[in-house]
Symmetry: C2
Subunit: 760 residues, 2 copies
């Protein structure tokens, strides 16, 4: 009895609070991960919001003297915690990526002499940027506040799905300015701006668009901007290298109060007089389709001017999302957990107007009929844990994401599902065709409010596009010859896993011919396995393995974001076969152990992408995704306790409740989703199966509230930082054999109890 | 009786033929004016067609070594008669302008080795261009044919309103190519292409768009291109200086059979095998709105593949338009007259899809409700005679053009009617606000299927936009101070005339307060008249006239496209007052005479814009518009016979039925409209009044078929090159006193008879 008591006591207040939306926002710290490699942004965003309104602390050119400027990488999310100045607040940001784009429509409030250049960080007051201090900075879920010291302006930000809401508290001045910088962007290439357009409709409304050629080959974002107070005057300055034809535009003074601007490089300013403490507010709406769409979004989502009310409403929305899992855990764990939940629930992003209109990858305007259209699909990352997490916590959204991917497929000139897509463009980033994993996972788990057979057809079409990276050869030979492709081994491995996903979906749909074909293709990982050295290895067209080969290097060895050590363990769909390939239980455990414990030469750290030195444990690279399932592979050996030990160690080492808490890019929520699953005690080693592999819960208790209304409760008895080993697991009071929990078991509701211990 | 007989005999066959659409196309020679300064194009276009499918004979960079390349001017219409090679066939051209743009989507058929560079004219076979000879060239209304000698390909072109139709007859070859060049354009600036996009939808359909920054600050044209025969393969080459991010596009070979291209500089090729005499046809549709719109246009306007049938249908359409005036005249006069009719009826151009969708100057998509939307408004030129001509021959279209102008006004950020607009952009070219002349002319003449009061409001708003070229000063002081504006005098004069137009429209609508205000403004021409020298002269803010002043120079003297000599006669709305200012009848006649007879210093020819030396008669510059009314001013003196003499002389000297027949730019039909009016015997000296000033008809007989079904017949008895003087005029058998014919008299139908003589 005693044992059960604490749970009962805990359960009641938790559930009661939950019914009125518990205050979980308090545990969310968007500032976590903003230092170094996390590449998350601290600004304001609604759940899955189209607007990410966040401070940018510098603008770094992508190239210096014609060469790639490595410093640019720091600014993937626009903000670096160590910086001392803020350039302004722009409306679009990626969360945790390793390449970037966006940073659209930078707003900066200033006072005094008008400066239209951002200036440089090293020279105070050299431009419109302002000094700031973290002591005068607050970052919450969908609320950001900072004092701009150079101007004595308090800046506050919040956002609805499609509208950013700025509130600037000015001192008394005759020279208050709002700068709108259309030149600013994250990853600023020389020619990045394709075109920008602005129209001052009246003394409180400005509309326009920005089109860029960056990571997205062509990306156009429309806006509508409304001021709470009419500006006294306005002006524009153009920094275009040249413009083809000036002609008779001299009929007007285009720099002052001229209502229409177009060009590649434009900055605007809007001037006011303000009294002490006067608030100037701006509502800034985005649209993928038109300025009319932006205005519709603006008027629909924020009809009034009550900043506090909007902030409150949006934080309530966050509480609702966060309370899909209510945990009992230590303060640090709670902060990590809910910050992870926050980071997991800000991508993919909504990509349509309130009336459903969006731009397709065919560059035509479409209306999403019966679903919400999403973009920002970082699928190489997110197919692993984020989308499986959504199948539990966000099944409706996940199905809509799949519908968005199917719409992409319909519109694609290449007749393919998305690889990595954002803003109506395919950027082809990374390898594999992991849309099929997301789709198969949903089909296998029965989350299919779309036509699963059509979805499977799209998977088949994508996986048979012979002109796509080595795929023709892969289909013909069973592997990609090393001569053809620089990442031939990792792509072969990823294709094999993706093909297994297709097979699983086909099986579920009773299409056994497809199942047979793709089950065969799923075995292709064996074709790049060199049993003589027990590594996956580049193989030439003639069938021989490449001679020159370094199993530790990540450069030029046939792998992407990983070395042979890590990628050789990448057979998520058949760990048992993998264990066998290594000679069985013992040698495999020995091999896995050395992964986590070996000491690496220094050069390895220098060349490993996207992660800090802290992001590497032995030779295990948590900051890059290909190893995310690896710690769970001990479950396929006789030493599953090592999974329990390792995952708890990784949780502690790789996720710290601090600005520098993330050892690598959060990768659009994948790193966070890993945290959430692992902290709850299980992980989807092979999305596309209905199985989760058990680990070691880092919480005392968690209640998962399913969309069906059912709850799934996880209890970890006697859990602590030391008690990481699982002695026994029961599901609904009955012992759970093995190390597998099924999706069905979760979705039926019930209680999973882990009995924890300090020893294995 | 004898005198009447010939008319009766002529009348019957003319009318009978007319009822079945007389073959007037035979008199149209689009090649006239293609040599030197006419700047017309010889290619295929439907009446007021959105597509102008025409050969371009060279591509000249707008700048050489960073400076304006004066040779570019020759290529305003893409074609120069003296050139020996054709680069290809592009789909958009201006007719007769003095600045340029367009040249979208160049198609070139070739054989043999693939060349994707146009090459240079001086080096045969240095690129894809081909030699041609005029002997193997035919240019008709909406039909163009040429033998491409380098490839032994017969090229034929025709067009519906929105679709160009190509027919290429190939020799037998395994290497037949169709090149689609998206880099090509007329007036090629370095950065002119903002963006281009292409999608190969299947093996016969390609869609995409081109966006440029040229004369139109931003102009986007969408296309859909269908081949009659599937291509075997295709490819693309990109010539972009650089592209921001290549990233993972290397997953594909983008140069061969890759279905999606985007960038600033792209050329495509489509490859075929052809048999001897095999025809490869292309339908190429344009849209201002989307590729879907282009496809809709294509499928609606040319559903089949019968080139001959489309050509026949379109030439019938031309016959219908041309037969609005059926003339009896000499062969040369007929060729001049119908070629002028053709050139008058190819601008403005239709600017909407078949479903009415078009892009507005607000950059939003609109649907034209109940009217046809037009663009290409060269209003400084065309308000003088082209739109008045339309009020007689094309009243429905003219009213729709005004509706288009009013839509522009509604969409304009500056809240102004168009100045010079094309393709959803205002380019602000030239001076004045002559939309108001076009609108007032229609209101005064009762051609108002639009709301005339709203139209007048738009005129008032436009004429009170103080920030527009000197307008604030003009309103305050009654003239534009010379310090403020380089063309202060001509603009003051043009504003005064435009203001008079507004007054006339107001009077017609009974808005006498507006009439009073604008009648006063209409007197402002007097404020730049220096009676001490009897010239219009730049005036400074302090009221004094500028000291340094050259009445012959056209540079820096305060005038645009004209000198003080010509512009001092520009008071079209009150010639009687002008005569008085010159001291009355005698000195005015003496002054006018010297205009036509003086000998000019050589420097004058060098600096006079847009015209050949032949385009100047004495100091009278017919090739530029400000003097177009001048020859008719003798009608306000006691020597109206000099009007008759001069206009006949101008007709002969300035309009020749030959490639070098035009002495200056046709200016979007204004020069041609002058010809048509003058050849018929009358001219609208002051559009905005209902009056036409009589001249000397150069035809024997003309039947104007009005939209109402009525006809207005003009007979010139005893007319010949020598018998240019008018002894008597009767209207419906009654003598017509004075030298004025009214619009009402024409529109009521009837017969106007000029009795001609060899002596005055």
């Amino acid at each position: 009895m005693r044992k059960l008591f604490p749970f009962c006591l805990l359960a009641l207040p938790l559930l009661t609070k939950a019914q009125t939306a518990p205050d979980l926002v308090q545990y969310v710290h968007p500032i976590f991960g903003t230092q170094r490699m996390g590449h998350v942004y601290p600004g304001a965003t609604a759940p899955f919001g189209a607007v990410q309104l966040s401070p940018d602390t510098d603008t770094i050119p992508y190239e210096l003297n014609g060469k790639y400027n490595p410093d640019v990488y720091k600014y993937c999310a626009g903000y670096q915690y160590d910086d001392k100045t803020i350039v302004g607040f722009s409306h679009t940001h990626f969360s945790g990526t390793g390449h970037s784009d966006l940073g659209d429509f930078l707003i900066m409030p200033t006072t005094g002499e008008l400066k239209l250049n951002p200036g440089v960080a090293t020279q105070p007051r050299s431009g419109y940027r302002s000094a700031f201090r973290h002591e005068a900075e607050t970052a919450e879920a969908d609320y950001y506040k900072v004092k701009l010291e150079d101007y004595n302006i308090l800046a506050e930000l919040t956002a609805t799905t499609r509208v950013g809401f700025h509130q600037y508290t000015f001192p008394a001045t005759n020279q208050a300015h709002i700068i709108l910088d259309l030149m600013h962007g994250i990853y600023n290439y020389d020619d990045k701006n394709v075109w920008t357009y602005l129209r001052v409709v009246n003394d409180t409304l400005v509309t326009g668009y920005r089109e860029t050629n960056g990571w997205a080959r062509t990306r156009r974002v429309y806006f509508a901007m409304v001021f709470s107070k009419p500006f006294d005057q306005y002006g524009a300055r153009k920094y275009d290298r040249r413009q083809a034809y000036h002609g008779f535009w001299g009929h007007f003074d285009q720099n002052h109060n001229f209502p229409e601007q177009a060009g590649r490089q434009i900055r605007m300013h809007f001037d006011f007089k303000t009294q002490e403490g006067e608030k100037v507010k701006i509502k800034f709406a985005l649209s993928p389709v038109s300025t009319e769409g932006a205005l519709l979004n603006l008027r629909t989502e924020i009809p009034g001017w009550d900043f506090e009310a909007v902030k409150r409403q949006e934080q309530e929305a966050w509480n609702t999302e966060l309370s899909k899992v209510v945990i009992d855990a230590g303060q640090e764990e709670k902060e990590n957990f809910y910050t992870s939940m926050y980071h997991a629930f800000i991508n993919p992003t909504v990509y349509m107007d309130v009336d459903g209109r969006y731009r397709g990858v065919d560059q035509l305007d479409h209306t999403a009929e019966g679903f919400v259209n999403y973009t920002t699909f970082s699928l190489w990352d997110t197919h692993r844990a984020l989308h499986p997490l959504f199948n539990i916590l966000q099944p409706t959204r996940n199905a809509d994401m799949i519908r968005s991917m199917l719409a992409h497929y319909q519109q694609s000139a290449e007749h393919m599902l998305p690889i990595w897509s954002h803003y109506a463009t395919e950027n082809w980033c990374m390898s594999g065709y992991h849309s099929v994993s997301v789709i198969a996972d949903a089909i296998v788990k029965g989350n299919t409010p779309f036509d699963p057979n059509k979805a499977l057809d799209a998977c088949i079409a994508t996986s048979t596009r012979r002109s796509f990276e080595g795929l023709g050869d892969y289909i013909d030979k069973g592997y990609i010859p090393a001569e053809r492709d620089g990442v031939s081994v990792s792509s072969t491995l990823e294709y094999a896993y993706d093909d297994w996903c297709i097979a699983q979906a086909a099986k579920k749909l009773g299409r056994m011919d497809v199942y047979d074909t793709y089950s065969k293709r799923a075995q292709n990982y064996k074709n790049v396995w060199d049993p003589s050295i027990e590594y996956m290895r580049p193989r030439l067209s003639d069938g021989s393995f490449r001679k020159d080969f370094d199993v530790l290097s990540t450069n030029g060895q046939g792998f992407i974001e990983g070395n042979a050590w890590n990628y050789s363990l990448y057979v998520p769909h058949d760990p048992a076969a993998l264990v066998a390939m290594y000679g069985g239980n013992k040698p495999f455990v020995r091999h896995l152990d050395s992964l986590f414990t070996m000491e690496l030469p220094d050069k390895f750290f220098a060349e490993t992408e996207d992660i800090t030195r802290d992001g590497i444990i032995g030779n295990y690279v948590h900051g890059n995704e290909p190893s995310h399932h690896v710690a769970y592979l001990y479950n396929w050996t006789d030493q599953p306790w090592k999974t329990q030990e390792r995952v708890r160690m990784i949780l502690k080492k790789q996720y710290k409740p601090a600005p520098d808490g993330l050892g690598g890019n959060d990768d659009c929520g994948q790193m966070s989703a890993w945290y959430i699953f692992t902290a709850l005690g299980f992980y989807p080693v092979a999305p596309g199966s209905g199985d989760y592999s058990l680990g070691s819960p880092a919480i005392n208790r968690a209640v998962i509230r399913l969309e069906s209304g059912k709850t799934f409760t996880i209890q970890a008895e006697n859990q602590s930082d030391k008690n990481v080993y699982v002695k026994k697991v029961t599901l609904n009071g009955k012992p759970l054999a093995g190390h597998t929990l099924t999706h069905q078991q979760i979705m039926q509701g019930g209680t999973l109890v882990f009995y924890m211990s300090a020893s294995h």
